[in-house]
Subunit: 315 residues, 2 copies
Amino acid sequence: MDSVCPVLLHAHTVYIATHVSPDGDAIGSSLGLALALGALGKRCTVACADPAPPPVSGLPGAKMIVAHPPSNQDVIVVLDTGDVSRLGSLYTPESFSGRPVINIDHHLSNTRFGTINIIDAQAAAVGEMVHTLVVAMGVPLNSMIATCLLTAIVTDTIGFRTSSTTPNVLRTAAALMEAGASLTDIVQQSFESRPLPVLRVWGDVLSNFHARNGVAWATISRQLLELHGVKDDEIKGLVNILRGTQGIVVSALIMESTDGTVKVEFRSNGQVNVAAIAIALGGGGHRAASGCTMKAPLAEVEQRVLDEINKQLRP
Amino acid sequence: MDSVCPVLLHAHTVYIATHVSPDGDAIGSSLGLALALGALGKRCTVACADPAPPPVSGLPGAKMIVAHPPSNQDVIVVLDTGDVSRLGSLYTPESFSGRPVINIDHHLSNTRFGTINIIDAQAAAVGEMVHTLVVAMGVPLNSMIATCLLTAIVTDTIGFRTSSTTPNVLRTAAALMEAGASLTDIVQQSFESRPLPVLRVWGDVLSNFHARNGVAWATISRQLLELHGVKDDEIKGLVNILRGTQGIVVSALIMESTDGTVKVEFRSNGQVNVAAIAIALGGGGHRAASGCTMKAPLAEVEQRVLDEINKQLRP
């Protein structure tokens, strides 16, 4: 972070952008950094092309997130974003030129699009990297910064359950708790607050999913979602449950969206690189967690997903 | 732990006992303490009236666990056990007399049956207390001790998700990882390795459970378990999913056992004391997690459980 600190400390105004379909790490790390820079007197704009979903829609500053490209800010910071295309409508070549672009990310596939690139594929969450940056800038943690960063870490590690969870992640989380973040609240909001209709969909999927040759998969049709009045973005964590079936090394959840596309989530036990599977299908992600969006009928997507998994599993 | 160290350091032989129907904390903390005392040259016997279940059946030393009362050991240590009745066949008044009985526990309801009682209801797991003891005795951690104690902590906090998870719990876990325990392996074995038939039972329960006035509950009949070839002790974690339904403050999972009894598990969001509910029905536990065993038909147990919850919720 040595190269980043002076650039940020000299800036008066900072534009912080993160990826479309933002998750807890995208929003939590962006708001945490904005609050920390705010404590140093900088004026920050946090931007995301899509709205922040629950549970992060309730984080401090979430209501101030904008969806437009940068204007005349001194510095641009892009967080948790492997490629500028993932910024959606925030990115235009013109608006991103003529000033430092600080690219802070933990995606292995990051395209190093910044003028300064801090890429740490070992980091469990960008929230962990932002914590290091905040400490390096000498900003004392407060409960708002800590809540944003702990939310980032807890959501991206699925509550310290991913293989990316290191002793440093746990010590960072301990420090953030001591600064005033409530782990209990964050865990409850992130993982333990599912609408009843969502659990009915879970019930249907768990009763019917397929498990064969180390692969567990399920499809979720619009019909099933509409039957229970559930939106596709409310289905979270289920792909991890499928992955946790005994003897399963890869799981896939294949779901029809309202916009006519089919979203696919992949998880692996770490032995298989599901980023490669997602990239082959036009998506991206990490070794143990990845995803893609496809435009084809559900049954066709299911077949292509299974073919691609089999290629990766039995090359 | 100041009163415990000299007693243990002077002993040559130690009998370590834990409760019937042992969980990860009972077995993990017992084996961790035995390994640590073994490193000091003590001869230890670990005892439990019931066999260690997966995932803890694979912990170092688990194969050596006995099911008989103490013989002539110098000191008795009882771990994670609120009352001697919970030792089952290990306890006889004669075999527990005439030598120090060290009672180390984190149950609020502990009856202080020891000659030395170290009761810390704030501790997330007895494994956390044993870690403090091991450090206080000057035993260097190794990967076997660390694996046992981290398993104890991870299982009792449901992977750092209970409200008992403090910064100290996270730092202890970080230290245990650095001593060689694999958090990934422990998490996978504890939470992410469910047989497919168990997930089919989950599917049925999530499709059919009741949720009303802040209470979520489900019954699991022997018929359902036998349909899928599942044993009642394989159903773990489901009561937490029920508790995580939006708007739910208390959950209960009511399950027919092979032995003709009905087992009930309770969880709360911390606002409601489910220990009181379980105690009223002849069981015990903690504020946010408790349980009881009843001998009555499933429908009758369901009614008594709901009555007792309502008494506690709306006194």
